[in-house]
Amino acid sequence: MAKNSAQWQQPPRFPTTHYVDSSIYTDQQIFEEERQKIFNKTWYIACHESEIPNAFDYRTFQHPGGTPLIIVRGEDMKVRAFYNICPHRGNTLLYDPSGNAKRITCIFHAWSFDTQGNCTDISREEQGYQKRFCKADAALREVKSEAGYGGFIWVNVDDNCVPLKTFVGDAMGELDPFIGMPMEVFHYHRAIVDTNFKLWHDTNSEFYHDYMHYFNRVTGMMQPGYFDRKCVGYDNGHVLVGSMEIKYDAYDGSKERGVGWPGLAQGGWILIDLFPGLTYNLRTSVLRMDTMIPLSPNKVMIEYRGLGLKSDTATERAQRIFDHNTIWGPFGRNLHEDLLGVHGQGRAMRPGTDSRWVLQGREENSTIHDEVGMRHYYAEWSRLMGRKSFDPYGDRRVSAAA
Protein backbone atom coordinates (compact mmCIF):
# COMPACT_ATOMS: atom_id res chain seq x y z
CA MET A 1 0.00 0.00 0.00
CA ALA A 2 1.32 3.45 -0.86
CA LYS A 3 2.23 5.77 2.00
CA ASN A 4 0.55 8.97 3.08
CA SER A 5 2.52 12.02 4.22
CA ALA A 6 2.85 10.94 7.85
CA GLN A 7 3.97 7.46 6.87
CA TRP A 8 6.49 8.92 4.40
CA GLN A 9 8.01 11.01 7.23
CA GLN A 10 8.17 8.07 9.61
CA PRO A 11 11.72 6.79 10.18
CA PRO A 12 12.43 3.40 8.63
CA ARG A 13 12.00 0.35 10.84
CA PHE A 14 15.72 -0.25 11.04
CA PRO A 15 18.35 0.46 13.65
CA THR A 16 19.40 4.11 13.34
CA THR A 17 22.73 2.97 11.89
CA HIS A 18 20.89 1.60 8.86
CA TYR A 19 19.50 4.76 7.28
CA VAL A 20 20.37 8.43 6.95
CA ASP A 21 18.37 11.61 6.79
CA SER A 22 18.54 12.76 3.17
CA SER A 23 19.10 16.37 4.26
CA ILE A 24 22.77 15.48 4.85
CA TYR A 25 22.99 15.48 1.06
CA THR A 26 21.38 18.87 0.52
CA ASP A 27 21.95 21.18 3.49
CA GLN A 28 24.28 24.15 2.88
CA GLN A 29 25.33 24.45 6.53
CA ILE A 30 26.19 20.77 6.74
CA PHE A 31 28.19 21.11 3.54
CA GLU A 32 30.22 24.01 4.96
CA GLU A 33 30.86 22.00 8.11
CA GLU A 34 32.00 19.02 6.06
CA ARG A 35 34.61 21.22 4.39
CA GLN A 36 35.92 22.43 7.74
CA LYS A 37 35.59 19.33 9.90
CA ILE A 38 36.35 16.65 7.34
CA PHE A 39 38.10 17.82 4.18
CA ASN A 40 40.32 20.39 5.90
CA LYS A 41 41.42 17.76 8.41
CA THR A 42 42.07 14.68 6.31
CA TRP A 43 44.69 13.59 3.80
CA TYR A 44 43.65 13.84 0.17
CA ILE A 45 45.16 12.90 -3.16
CA ALA A 46 46.11 15.91 -5.27
CA CYS A 47 47.82 14.23 -8.23
CA HIS A 48 50.19 11.42 -9.17
CA GLU A 49 53.96 11.68 -9.16
CA SER A 50 54.03 10.81 -12.88
CA GLU A 51 52.22 14.09 -13.59
CA ILE A 52 55.21 16.06 -12.29
CA PRO A 53 58.22 13.93 -13.24
CA ASN A 54 60.80 16.71 -13.70
CA ALA A 55 62.25 19.43 -11.53
CA PHE A 56 60.01 22.52 -11.54
CA ASP A 57 56.99 20.60 -12.91
CA TYR A 58 53.78 21.67 -11.23
CA ARG A 59 50.09 20.83 -11.05
CA THR A 60 47.33 23.03 -9.74
CA PHE A 61 44.68 21.42 -7.56
CA GLN A 62 41.33 22.53 -6.23
CA HIS A 63 41.44 21.19 -2.68
CA PRO A 64 38.07 19.80 -1.53
CA GLY A 65 38.19 22.05 1.54
CA GLY A 66 38.03 25.01 -0.82
CA THR A 67 41.64 26.20 -1.03
CA PRO A 68 43.41 26.25 -4.41
CA LEU A 69 46.80 24.54 -4.25
CA ILE A 70 50.02 24.24 -6.25
CA ILE A 71 51.87 20.93 -6.20
CA VAL A 72 55.43 21.47 -7.43
CA ARG A 73 58.58 19.38 -7.71
CA GLY A 74 61.58 21.39 -6.58
CA GLU A 75 65.10 21.50 -7.95
CA ASP A 76 65.92 19.03 -5.15
CA MET A 77 63.22 16.73 -6.66
CA LYS A 78 61.18 17.00 -3.48
CA VAL A 79 57.47 17.58 -3.99
CA ARG A 80 55.88 20.38 -1.99
CA ALA A 81 52.42 21.90 -1.86
CA PHE A 82 51.47 25.54 -1.40
CA TYR A 83 48.36 27.69 -1.46
CA ASN A 84 47.86 28.96 -5.00
CA ILE A 85 47.31 32.38 -3.51
CA CYS A 86 49.70 35.30 -3.70
CA PRO A 87 50.43 36.64 -0.19
CA HIS A 88 50.41 40.18 -1.59
CA ARG A 89 46.90 40.84 -2.92
CA GLY A 90 45.39 37.40 -2.85
CA ASN A 91 45.62 36.71 -6.55
CA THR A 92 45.89 33.34 -8.25
CA LEU A 93 49.55 32.51 -8.83
CA LEU A 94 49.34 29.72 -11.40
CA TYR A 95 46.43 29.38 -13.77
CA ASP A 96 47.31 26.39 -15.96
CA PRO A 97 46.52 22.87 -14.75
CA SER A 98 50.16 21.90 -15.30
CA GLY A 99 53.46 23.40 -16.37
CA ASN A 100 57.10 23.92 -15.52
CA ALA A 101 58.21 27.00 -13.63
CA LYS A 102 61.60 27.75 -12.08
CA ARG A 103 59.97 30.78 -10.55
CA ILE A 104 56.32 31.15 -9.63
CA THR A 105 55.55 34.70 -10.58
CA CYS A 106 52.26 36.44 -9.88
CA ILE A 107 51.05 38.17 -13.03
CA PHE A 108 49.41 40.94 -10.99
CA HIS A 109 52.45 42.77 -9.53
CA ALA A 110 55.28 40.36 -10.46
CA TRP A 111 56.08 39.08 -6.98
CA SER A 112 58.10 35.92 -7.49
CA PHE A 113 58.60 32.71 -5.49
CA ASP A 114 60.85 29.67 -5.74
CA THR A 115 59.73 26.05 -5.53
CA GLN A 116 60.42 25.99 -1.79
CA GLY A 117 57.91 28.74 -1.20
CA ASN A 118 60.46 31.50 -0.59
CA CYS A 119 59.70 34.92 -1.99
CA THR A 120 62.58 35.76 -4.33
CA ASP A 121 61.45 39.10 -5.66
CA ILE A 122 59.15 41.92 -4.67
CA SER A 123 59.02 44.50 -7.42
CA ARG A 124 60.27 47.87 -6.24
CA GLU A 125 60.52 46.45 -2.73
CA GLU A 126 62.54 49.18 -1.03
CA GLN A 127 60.68 52.05 -2.66
CA GLY A 128 57.35 50.78 -1.40
CA TYR A 129 58.11 49.06 1.87
CA GLN A 130 61.42 50.69 2.92
CA LYS A 131 62.47 48.42 5.82
CA ARG A 132 58.94 47.69 7.06
CA PHE A 133 58.33 44.54 4.98
CA CYS A 134 60.64 42.31 3.01
CA LYS A 135 60.80 39.07 1.04
CA ALA A 136 61.19 37.05 4.23
CA ASP A 137 57.74 38.25 5.26
CA ALA A 138 56.16 37.18 1.99
CA ALA A 139 56.67 33.42 1.75
CA LEU A 140 53.99 31.14 0.39
CA ARG A 141 51.79 29.12 2.73
CA GLU A 142 53.01 25.53 2.56
CA VAL A 143 50.72 22.60 3.33
CA LYS A 144 51.76 19.12 4.28
CA SER A 145 52.42 16.73 1.41
CA GLU A 146 53.62 13.15 1.06
CA ALA A 147 54.00 10.67 -1.77
CA GLY A 148 52.64 7.22 -1.15
CA TYR A 149 50.25 4.36 -1.82
CA GLY A 150 50.97 3.93 -5.50
CA GLY A 151 52.97 7.11 -6.05
CA PHE A 152 50.11 9.49 -5.42
CA ILE A 153 50.81 12.93 -3.97
CA TRP A 154 48.77 13.44 -0.83
CA VAL A 155 48.13 16.78 0.83
CA ASN A 156 46.69 17.90 4.15
CA VAL A 157 45.97 21.56 4.90
CA ASP A 158 45.88 20.90 8.66
CA ASP A 159 49.33 21.57 10.13
CA ASN A 160 48.44 19.42 13.13
CA CYS A 161 47.18 16.39 11.21
CA VAL A 162 48.15 12.80 11.94
CA PRO A 163 50.75 11.23 9.61
CA LEU A 164 49.43 9.85 6.32
CA LYS A 165 50.32 6.34 7.44
CA THR A 166 48.15 6.72 10.53
CA PHE A 167 45.26 8.08 8.49
CA VAL A 168 45.33 5.20 6.00
CA GLY A 169 46.04 2.59 8.67
CA ASP A 170 45.61 -0.99 7.45
CA ALA A 171 43.04 -0.13 4.80
CA MET A 172 45.42 -0.51 1.86
CA GLY A 173 46.82 -3.87 2.95
CA GLU A 174 45.04 -5.85 0.25
CA LEU A 175 46.19 -3.51 -2.52
CA ASP A 176 49.70 -2.69 -1.32
CA PRO A 177 51.34 -5.72 -2.96
CA PHE A 178 50.11 -4.60 -6.37
CA ILE A 179 50.93 -0.89 -6.37
CA GLY A 180 54.58 -0.88 -5.38
CA MET A 181 55.98 -0.70 -8.90
CA PRO A 182 56.29 2.66 -10.72
CA MET A 183 53.01 3.58 -12.37
CA GLU A 184 51.94 6.23 -14.84
CA VAL A 185 48.67 8.07 -15.42
CA PHE A 186 47.45 7.58 -19.00
CA HIS A 187 43.89 8.79 -18.58
CA TYR A 188 42.45 11.86 -16.90
CA HIS A 189 39.05 13.41 -17.16
CA ARG A 190 36.62 15.16 -14.89
CA ALA A 191 32.88 15.23 -14.55
CA ILE A 192 30.76 17.80 -12.76
CA VAL A 193 27.52 16.25 -11.60
CA ASP A 194 24.54 17.78 -9.82
CA THR A 195 24.63 15.48 -6.84
CA ASN A 196 26.17 15.32 -3.37
CA PHE A 197 29.71 13.96 -3.11
CA LYS A 198 28.70 11.34 -0.56
CA LEU A 199 26.29 9.78 -3.01
CA TRP A 200 29.15 9.06 -5.40
CA HIS A 201 31.16 7.52 -2.59
CA ASP A 202 28.08 5.47 -1.59
CA THR A 203 27.89 4.11 -5.12
CA ASN A 204 31.55 3.16 -5.01
CA SER A 205 31.09 1.33 -1.72
CA GLU A 206 28.15 -0.91 -2.57
CA PHE A 207 27.71 -3.30 -5.46
CA TYR A 208 23.99 -3.85 -5.07
CA HIS A 209 23.73 -1.29 -7.86
CA ASP A 210 25.27 -3.83 -10.25
CA TYR A 211 21.64 -4.31 -11.27
CA MET A 212 22.16 -1.01 -13.13
CA HIS A 213 25.18 -2.34 -15.04
CA TYR A 214 24.53 -4.82 -17.81
CA PHE A 215 28.29 -5.29 -18.15
CA ASN A 216 28.72 -6.16 -14.46
CA ARG A 217 25.68 -8.40 -14.39
CA VAL A 218 26.95 -10.66 -17.16
CA THR A 219 30.67 -10.54 -16.32
CA GLY A 220 30.30 -10.56 -12.53
CA MET A 221 26.95 -11.08 -10.87
CA MET A 222 26.07 -14.12 -12.94
CA GLN A 223 29.48 -15.70 -12.37
CA PRO A 224 30.59 -18.01 -9.54
CA GLY A 225 32.31 -16.25 -6.67
CA TYR A 226 30.51 -12.94 -7.06
CA PHE A 227 28.76 -13.21 -3.70
CA ASP A 228 32.01 -14.23 -2.01
CA ARG A 229 33.30 -10.67 -2.21
CA LYS A 230 33.52 -9.30 1.30
CA CYS A 231 33.33 -5.72 2.53
CA VAL A 232 35.76 -4.97 5.35
CA GLY A 233 35.71 -1.75 7.34
CA TYR A 234 38.89 -0.14 8.65
CA ASP A 235 39.65 2.70 11.03
CA ASN A 236 38.86 6.24 9.90
CA GLY A 237 35.93 5.22 7.69
CA HIS A 238 37.84 3.30 5.01
CA VAL A 239 36.32 0.22 3.35
CA LEU A 240 37.73 -2.64 1.29
CA VAL A 241 35.63 -4.55 -1.21
CA GLY A 242 37.50 -7.80 -1.76
CA SER A 243 38.50 -9.50 -4.97
CA MET A 244 36.71 -11.77 -7.43
CA GLU A 245 37.36 -13.03 -10.92
CA ILE A 246 35.62 -11.14 -13.72
CA LYS A 247 34.54 -13.13 -16.78
CA TYR A 248 35.04 -10.49 -19.43
CA ASP A 249 34.26 -12.76 -22.33
CA ALA A 250 30.69 -13.07 -21.06
CA TYR A 251 30.04 -9.61 -22.53
CA ASP A 252 29.67 -9.77 -26.28
CA GLY A 253 32.46 -7.77 -27.86
CA SER A 254 34.63 -7.94 -24.77
CA LYS A 255 37.31 -10.53 -24.18
CA GLU A 256 39.50 -11.92 -21.42
CA ARG A 257 42.14 -9.37 -20.48
CA GLY A 258 45.48 -10.37 -21.90
CA VAL A 259 47.71 -7.83 -20.18
CA GLY A 260 46.73 -8.35 -16.56
CA TRP A 261 48.53 -6.83 -13.61
CA PRO A 262 51.65 -8.24 -11.93
CA GLY A 263 50.67 -10.54 -9.09
CA LEU A 264 46.93 -10.03 -9.51
CA ALA A 265 44.85 -13.08 -10.42
CA GLN A 266 43.54 -13.17 -13.98
CA GLY A 267 40.35 -11.12 -13.99
CA GLY A 268 40.99 -9.97 -10.40
CA TRP A 269 39.32 -6.91 -8.92
CA ILE A 270 40.11 -5.07 -5.67
CA LEU A 271 38.37 -1.87 -4.66
CA ILE A 272 39.19 0.32 -1.66
CA ASP A 273 37.20 3.38 -0.63
CA LEU A 274 39.15 5.81 1.49
CA PHE A 275 37.18 8.25 3.59
CA PRO A 276 35.93 10.83 2.72
CA GLY A 277 36.08 10.70 -1.09
CA LEU A 278 38.84 8.61 -2.70
CA THR A 279 38.54 5.26 -4.44
CA TYR A 280 41.31 2.92 -5.57
CA ASN A 281 39.91 0.48 -8.11
CA LEU A 282 42.29 -2.14 -9.50
CA ARG A 283 40.46 -4.18 -12.08
CA THR A 284 42.49 -6.74 -13.99
CA SER A 285 44.72 -4.50 -16.09
CA VAL A 286 44.08 -0.93 -14.95
CA LEU A 287 44.17 1.01 -11.71
CA ARG A 288 41.42 3.62 -11.63
CA MET A 289 41.53 6.42 -9.09
CA ASP A 290 38.49 8.55 -8.27
CA THR A 291 38.98 11.83 -6.46
CA MET A 292 35.94 13.82 -5.45
CA ILE A 293 35.97 17.58 -5.13
CA PRO A 294 32.69 18.76 -3.59
CA LEU A 295 31.62 22.13 -5.00
CA SER A 296 28.29 22.66 -3.23
CA PRO A 297 25.74 20.46 -1.44
CA ASN A 298 24.36 19.35 -4.78
CA LYS A 299 27.38 19.61 -7.05
CA VAL A 300 30.53 17.54 -7.15
CA MET A 301 33.50 17.43 -9.47
CA ILE A 302 34.98 13.97 -9.83
CA GLU A 303 38.46 13.43 -11.21
CA TYR A 304 39.05 10.10 -12.93
CA ARG A 305 42.52 8.74 -13.51
CA GLY A 306 43.55 5.56 -15.28
CA LEU A 307 47.01 4.17 -14.53
CA GLY A 308 49.22 1.55 -16.07
CA LEU A 309 52.77 0.49 -15.38
CA LYS A 310 55.62 2.78 -16.24
CA SER A 311 57.36 -0.23 -17.75
CA ASP A 312 54.54 -0.90 -20.23
CA THR A 313 55.45 -1.60 -23.84
CA ALA A 314 53.44 0.33 -26.41
CA THR A 315 51.31 -2.77 -27.02
CA GLU A 316 50.64 -3.31 -23.32
CA ARG A 317 49.73 0.33 -22.82
CA ALA A 318 47.36 0.28 -25.79
CA GLN A 319 45.61 -2.76 -24.33
CA ARG A 320 45.27 -1.12 -20.92
CA ILE A 321 43.79 1.97 -22.55
CA PHE A 322 41.32 -0.18 -24.48
CA ASP A 323 40.35 -2.10 -21.34
CA HIS A 324 39.93 1.15 -19.41
CA ASN A 325 37.81 2.79 -22.09
CA THR A 326 35.51 -0.20 -22.45
CA ILE A 327 34.05 0.21 -18.98
CA TRP A 328 35.43 3.39 -17.42
CA GLY A 329 35.99 5.90 -20.21
CA PRO A 330 33.58 8.82 -20.74
CA PHE A 331 32.02 6.71 -23.52
CA GLY A 332 32.46 3.43 -21.68
CA ARG A 333 29.82 0.93 -20.62
CA ASN A 334 29.79 1.47 -16.85
CA LEU A 335 30.89 4.94 -15.81
CA HIS A 336 28.06 6.69 -17.60
CA GLU A 337 25.54 4.47 -15.83
CA ASP A 338 27.05 5.18 -12.41
CA LEU A 339 26.94 8.90 -13.11
CA LEU A 340 23.39 8.67 -14.36
CA GLY A 341 22.47 6.91 -11.12
CA VAL A 342 23.86 9.57 -8.79
CA HIS A 343 22.61 12.34 -11.08
CA GLY A 344 19.15 10.88 -10.56
CA GLN A 345 19.64 10.88 -6.79
CA GLY A 346 20.75 14.52 -6.86
CA ARG A 347 17.74 15.39 -8.95
CA ALA A 348 15.32 13.65 -6.58
CA MET A 349 16.94 14.95 -3.39
CA ARG A 350 17.38 18.62 -4.20
CA PRO A 351 15.88 20.92 -1.53
CA GLY A 352 12.12 21.04 -1.53
CA THR A 353 11.46 17.62 -3.00
CA ASP A 354 10.38 16.06 0.32
CA SER A 355 12.98 13.36 -0.04
CA ARG A 356 13.26 11.94 3.44
CA TRP A 357 15.36 8.86 4.16
CA VAL A 358 18.06 6.89 2.42
CA LEU A 359 18.13 3.23 3.39
CA GLN A 360 21.36 1.40 4.09
CA GLY A 361 19.74 -1.60 5.71
CA ARG A 362 20.87 -4.60 3.67
CA GLU A 363 22.66 -7.25 5.73
CA GLU A 364 24.19 -10.17 3.85
CA ASN A 365 27.09 -11.28 6.01
CA SER A 366 29.18 -8.32 4.77
CA THR A 367 29.18 -9.67 1.23
CA ILE A 368 28.95 -7.60 -1.88
CA HIS A 369 25.27 -6.61 -1.68
CA ASP A 370 25.45 -5.84 2.04
CA GLU A 371 25.32 -2.08 2.68
CA VAL A 372 27.81 -2.32 5.53
CA GLY A 373 30.30 -0.16 3.63
CA MET A 374 28.00 2.82 3.71
CA ARG A 375 27.13 2.23 7.36
CA HIS A 376 30.83 2.21 8.18
CA TYR A 377 31.33 5.47 6.29
CA TYR A 378 28.48 7.27 8.05
CA ALA A 379 29.67 6.15 11.47
CA GLU A 380 32.92 8.02 10.79
CA TRP A 381 31.05 10.94 9.21
CA SER A 382 28.89 11.26 12.32
CA ARG A 383 31.93 11.11 14.60
CA LEU A 384 33.79 13.87 12.79
CA MET A 385 30.76 16.06 12.22
CA GLY A 386 29.39 15.74 15.73
CA ARG A 387 26.03 15.04 14.09
CA LYS A 388 24.08 11.85 13.69
CA SER A 389 23.61 10.99 10.05
CA PHE A 390 20.09 9.73 10.80
CA ASP A 391 19.26 12.87 12.80
CA PRO A 392 21.69 15.62 11.77
CA TYR A 393 19.82 18.42 13.55
CA GLY A 394 19.10 16.47 16.73
CA ASP A 395 15.44 17.28 16.47
CA ARG A 396 13.91 14.00 15.37
CA ARG A 397 12.31 11.42 17.58
CA VAL A 398 13.32 8.15 16.07
CA SER A 399 12.73 4.63 17.12
CA ALA A 400 15.81 2.97 18.54
CA ALA A 401 15.27 -0.10 16.45
CA ALA A 402 12.59 -1.82 14.54
Binding site: A191, H213, I321, P330, R333, H336
Partner: protein, 152 residues
Protein backbone atom coordinates in the same frame (compact mmCIF):
# COMPACT_ATOMS: atom_id res chain seq x y z
CA UNK B 1 36.56 13.65 -56.70
CA UNK B 2 33.25 15.34 -56.04
CA UNK B 3 33.67 17.63 -53.05
CA UNK B 4 29.92 18.06 -52.72
CA UNK B 5 29.43 14.30 -52.43
CA UNK B 6 31.99 14.19 -49.63
CA UNK B 7 30.33 17.05 -47.78
CA UNK B 8 26.96 15.38 -48.17
CA UNK B 9 28.35 12.18 -46.71
CA UNK B 10 29.72 13.97 -43.63
CA UNK B 11 26.38 15.65 -43.05
CA UNK B 12 24.58 12.36 -43.66
CA UNK B 13 26.61 10.71 -40.89
CA UNK B 14 25.41 13.40 -38.47
CA UNK B 15 21.78 12.93 -39.42
CA UNK B 16 21.96 9.16 -39.17
CA UNK B 17 23.70 9.16 -35.81
CA UNK B 18 21.25 11.78 -34.49
CA UNK B 19 18.45 9.45 -35.55
CA UNK B 20 20.24 6.45 -33.96
CA UNK B 21 20.11 4.80 -37.36
CA UNK B 22 23.36 3.01 -36.71
CA UNK B 23 23.08 0.41 -39.44
CA UNK B 24 22.65 3.09 -42.06
CA UNK B 25 25.64 4.93 -40.59
CA UNK B 26 27.76 1.80 -40.84
CA UNK B 27 26.59 1.35 -44.44
CA UNK B 28 28.44 4.58 -45.22
CA UNK B 29 31.63 3.12 -43.75
CA UNK B 30 34.28 1.06 -45.49
CA UNK B 31 35.00 -2.47 -44.28
CA UNK B 32 38.32 -1.12 -42.97
CA UNK B 33 36.55 1.59 -41.03
CA UNK B 34 38.20 2.79 -37.83
CA UNK B 35 36.52 5.15 -35.38
CA UNK B 36 38.16 6.88 -32.45
CA UNK B 37 37.53 9.69 -30.01
CA UNK B 38 40.68 11.55 -29.02
CA UNK B 39 41.57 14.53 -26.91
CA UNK B 40 44.52 16.06 -25.08
CA UNK B 41 44.80 16.41 -21.33
CA UNK B 42 46.85 19.40 -20.19
CA UNK B 43 46.57 17.99 -16.66
CA UNK B 44 48.67 14.94 -17.44
CA UNK B 45 50.22 16.43 -20.59
CA UNK B 46 49.20 13.48 -22.72
CA UNK B 47 47.12 12.79 -25.78
CA UNK B 48 44.32 10.42 -24.86
CA UNK B 49 42.12 7.98 -26.74
CA UNK B 50 38.65 7.66 -25.23
CA UNK B 51 37.18 5.21 -27.71
CA UNK B 52 38.73 3.16 -30.49
CA UNK B 53 36.93 0.55 -32.58
CA UNK B 54 36.97 -1.05 -35.99
CA UNK B 55 33.73 -1.54 -37.91
CA UNK B 56 32.95 -4.78 -36.11
CA UNK B 57 33.59 -3.14 -32.76
CA UNK B 58 31.29 -0.24 -33.62
CA UNK B 59 28.58 -2.61 -34.76
CA UNK B 60 28.87 -4.51 -31.51
CA UNK B 61 28.80 -1.32 -29.48
CA UNK B 62 25.62 -0.19 -31.24
CA UNK B 63 24.05 -3.62 -30.68
CA UNK B 64 24.76 -3.48 -26.94
CA UNK B 65 23.36 0.01 -26.43
CA UNK B 66 19.76 -1.02 -25.67
CA UNK B 67 21.00 -3.31 -22.89
CA UNK B 68 22.53 -0.41 -20.99
CA UNK B 69 20.94 2.30 -18.89
CA UNK B 70 21.50 5.47 -20.85
CA UNK B 71 20.82 9.14 -20.68
CA UNK B 72 18.02 9.49 -23.21
CA UNK B 73 18.51 13.22 -23.73
CA UNK B 74 18.79 13.62 -27.51
CA UNK B 75 21.96 15.08 -28.97
CA UNK B 76 22.29 16.92 -32.26
CA UNK B 77 25.53 16.92 -34.21
CA UNK B 78 26.33 20.03 -36.25
CA UNK B 79 29.24 19.69 -38.65
CA UNK B 80 30.71 22.22 -41.02
CA UNK B 81 33.14 20.90 -43.59
CA UNK B 82 36.13 23.21 -43.54
CA UNK B 83 38.67 21.44 -45.68
CA UNK B 84 38.82 18.65 -48.26
CA UNK B 85 42.31 17.56 -49.35
CA UNK B 86 42.22 15.09 -52.22
CA UNK B 87 45.10 12.68 -52.76
CA UNK B 88 47.13 12.76 -55.97
CA UNK B 89 45.30 9.81 -57.53
CA UNK B 90 41.95 11.28 -56.64
CA UNK B 91 40.83 8.15 -54.80
CA UNK B 92 41.11 9.36 -51.23
CA UNK B 93 40.50 12.58 -49.34
CA UNK B 94 41.27 13.97 -45.90
CA UNK B 95 38.34 15.96 -44.58
CA UNK B 96 38.32 18.35 -41.64
CA UNK B 97 34.97 19.43 -40.23
CA UNK B 98 34.13 21.57 -37.24
CA UNK B 99 31.79 19.76 -34.88
CA UNK B 100 29.37 21.04 -32.29
CA UNK B 101 27.18 18.68 -30.30
CA UNK B 102 24.06 20.01 -28.62
CA UNK B 103 22.08 18.23 -25.95
CA UNK B 104 18.40 18.85 -25.34
CA UNK B 105 16.77 18.11 -21.99
CA UNK B 106 14.30 15.26 -21.96
CA UNK B 107 11.45 17.67 -21.34
CA UNK B 108 12.64 19.90 -24.17
CA UNK B 109 13.14 22.68 -21.67
CA UNK B 110 16.57 23.70 -22.77
CA UNK B 111 19.26 22.90 -25.27
CA UNK B 112 22.89 23.39 -24.35
CA UNK B 113 26.18 23.05 -26.14
CA UNK B 114 27.50 19.67 -25.00
CA UNK B 115 30.82 19.41 -26.81
CA UNK B 116 32.92 20.99 -29.53
CA UNK B 117 35.68 19.45 -31.58
CA UNK B 118 36.48 18.31 -35.07
CA UNK B 119 35.78 15.37 -37.32
CA UNK B 120 39.04 14.30 -38.94
CA UNK B 121 37.82 11.97 -41.67
CA UNK B 122 39.51 9.85 -44.29
CA UNK B 123 37.23 9.17 -47.23
CA UNK B 124 37.69 6.72 -50.07
CA UNK B 125 35.85 6.95 -53.40
CA UNK B 126 34.57 3.63 -54.70
CA UNK B 127 32.33 3.43 -57.72
CA UNK B 128 31.89 7.17 -57.58
CA UNK B 129 30.60 7.03 -54.01
CA UNK B 130 32.48 8.28 -50.95
CA UNK B 131 33.07 5.72 -48.19
CA UNK B 132 34.20 6.61 -44.70
CA UNK B 133 37.45 4.80 -43.95
CA UNK B 134 38.49 6.53 -40.78
CA UNK B 135 36.97 9.02 -38.38
CA UNK B 136 38.82 10.65 -35.50
CA UNK B 137 36.57 12.79 -33.33
CA UNK B 138 39.05 15.23 -31.83
CA UNK B 139 37.35 16.77 -28.83
CA UNK B 140 38.16 20.15 -27.34
CA UNK B 141 35.55 19.62 -24.63
CA UNK B 142 36.80 17.24 -21.97
CA UNK B 143 34.07 17.57 -19.38
CA UNK B 144 30.95 15.80 -20.55
CA UNK B 145 28.99 15.73 -17.31
CA UNK B 146 27.49 12.31 -16.89
CA UNK B 147 28.93 11.28 -20.25
CA UNK B 148 27.21 9.58 -23.13
CA UNK B 149 26.92 6.05 -24.41
CA UNK B 150 26.54 6.92 -28.06
CA UNK B 151 29.65 8.05 -29.92
CA UNK B 152 29.63 11.49 -31.51
Amino acid sequence: MDRTAIQDMVYQTCLLLDDKNFNAFLDLCDDEFRYSIATHSPEIRKDMIWLDHDKKGMKNLFTQLPRHNSDHSPITRHATVYKVDVSGDGNEASVVSALQVYKTDLDGGSTALFAVGKYLDTVRIEGGKPRLVKRVVKLDTRMLGIGYHIPF
